[in-house]
């Protein structure tokens, strides 16, 4: 799973969010490292909707602008959990090997 996809799904875990809120949440989760643009976000949202990982929760008009709120579906939550487990397993394996090789000490570089 692409990092931006992973972060978009993560941004939707706690509550349904509209597009701009997802952009802000992704920046916050990644400490500003991932700065999604709206064009990229909506390409991902469209794909995730087609795959059934997210869905539209509701629509509203704010200052004459359409806002759609997206929510994580059950299969989206399951995919995110699976991907998180995979990343955690890879990260653990990398940490163990780095520590064994003496290249890091307690999580930092040696």
């Amino acid at each position: 799973m692409h990092e931006s996809t992973y972060l978009i799904l993560t941004a939707l875990v706690e509550a349904p969010r509209h597009g701009y809120a997802v952009l802000e949440e992704v920046r916050q989760i990644s400490d500003g490292r991932v700065d999604l643009r709206a064009g990229t976000l909506y390409a991902a949202l469209d794909r995730l909707r087609t795959e059934g990982l997210i869905d539209i929760e509701r629509e509203e008009q704010v200052q004459s602008r359409l806002r759609r709120y997206y929510r994580l579906t059950a299969s989206g939550a399951q995919r995110l959990a699976e991907e998180s487990a995979r990343l955690r397993s890879n990260a653990d394996a990398a940490s163990v090997r780095l520590r064994r090789a003496g290249l890091i000490v307690d999580g930092g570089a040696a």
Binding site: L23, R37, A38, G39, L41, Y42, A43, D46, R47, R65
Partner: protein, 337 residues
């Protein structure tokens, strides 16, 4: 031009259906995300929007081509194309064998007609038979080898004589493994029905046997060879030309008699081959009407980069146009119904 107009102008690059779904919402997010006082779309947003538009077009095309009608058309084309390529490669080997049988001890006197050309012809026949039985993946795997041979053959022709006259079979051959690898709900046999399969068999027999029939019966002994840019009748006897034409008309009949949904897709799929055929036979010849190629001591000059570009882009472009027209017509037909 306001910032919103700039974004709306960029949104025009997206497919219409996508715009209907997301335009207002996406522009709202872009405006929310804009810096205070920003008057033009940021470069990163422009790139993201153009990338998103390309992505949306590719996804839309992928969704269209993943429909069952396209899949069945792909399988049917795989079968028809394999038979046509079998015909093209088997004609001379069959003539060689017919001359043996007719009392010419050396046949055509050129053993290469049996190897490798005759062998590749047999492989094309195997591809066709596999497609008939619905073994698409096996047929595609064998077709890869045959297509590689056809591409190498046309490359050799170009290396020796700077000719791309026989590029169309290579294009058709390259399409065969691709279309046969597509998984379809029904095999080519089921899509085409029995009588069309019978017509295909007749077309194949007539076309493969044309030179042999003319030779063995001596029917062309008193006729003058037919020359011209017409694709199947360059320097062959009149009877052979008639038989070949009859064979290829039968192939055309099979395609044209299929149900409209299948027929439109089959015709769209053969557009790249047809455009290549026209370009290489008419457009790029020494008397070419589109992009004339000069000759030096009777030998054609190599293609220029512009001509190569036309040769690559034109078939793709015309195919895209054919598909767009097809979907447009079907959409308007559905809406009108």
């Amino acid at each position: 031009m306001t910032l919103e107009h700039g974004y709306r102008w960029l949104m025009a690059c997206y497919p219409r259906a996508y715009r209907r779904q997301y335009e207002d919402e996406l522009i709202g997010v872009l405006l929310d995300d804009a810096s205070p006082g920003q008057r033009r779309p940021a470069a990163r947003d422009v790139l993201a929007l153009l990338g998103g538009a390309l992505h949306a077009h590719v996804r839309q095309a992928g969704a269209r081509f993943s429909g069952n009608a396209w899949r069945e058309a792909a399988q049917a084309l795989g079968l028809i194309a394999a038979l046509m390529l079998f015909v093209r490669d088997a004609r001379v080997p069959v003539l060689h064998l017919a001359m043996f049988a007719d009392g010419y001890p050396e046949g055509l006197g050129e053993p290469f007609v049996l190897w490798p050309v005759g062998f590749v012809a047999l492989l094309w026949l195997t591809v066709a038979v596999s497609a008939v039985f619905g073994w698409g993946r096996a047929a595609a795997a064998i077709a890869v080898c045959c297509a590689a041979f056809e591409v190498v053959r046309v490359a050799e022709d170009y290396g020796q004589y700077s000719t791309v006259r026989n590029l169309w079979p290579a294009v058709l051959a390259a399409m065969v493994p691709l279309v046969l690898a597509v998984h379809a709900p029904r095999s080519a046999t089921a899509s085409l029905a029995r009588w069309r399969l019978g017509t295909l068999a007749a077309a194949t027999l007539v076309s493969v046997g044309a030179p042999s029939i003319a030779q063995v019966t001596g029917a062309d002994d008193s006729t003058t060879p037919v020359y011209g840019t017409w694709i199947f009748t360059v320097g062959v006897g009149r009877i052979e030309a008639i038989l070949l034409t009859a064979g290829y008309l039968l192939f055309a009949l099979v395609i044209l008699s299929t149900p409209a949904v299948l027929r439109r897709r089959l015709l769209a799929l053969v557009v790249p081959v047809g455009v290549t055929l026209l370009l290489t036979r008419v457009g790029f010849s020494s008397t070419g009407t589109i992009l004339k190629r000069p000759t030096h001591d009777g030998v054609l000059a190599a293609l220029t980069p512009a001509q190569w570009l036309v040769l690559v882009l034109a078939p793709t472009l015309f195919f895209a146009v054919a598909v767009a027209i097809l979907h447009q017509r079907e959409r308007s037909g559905t809406q009108g119904a």
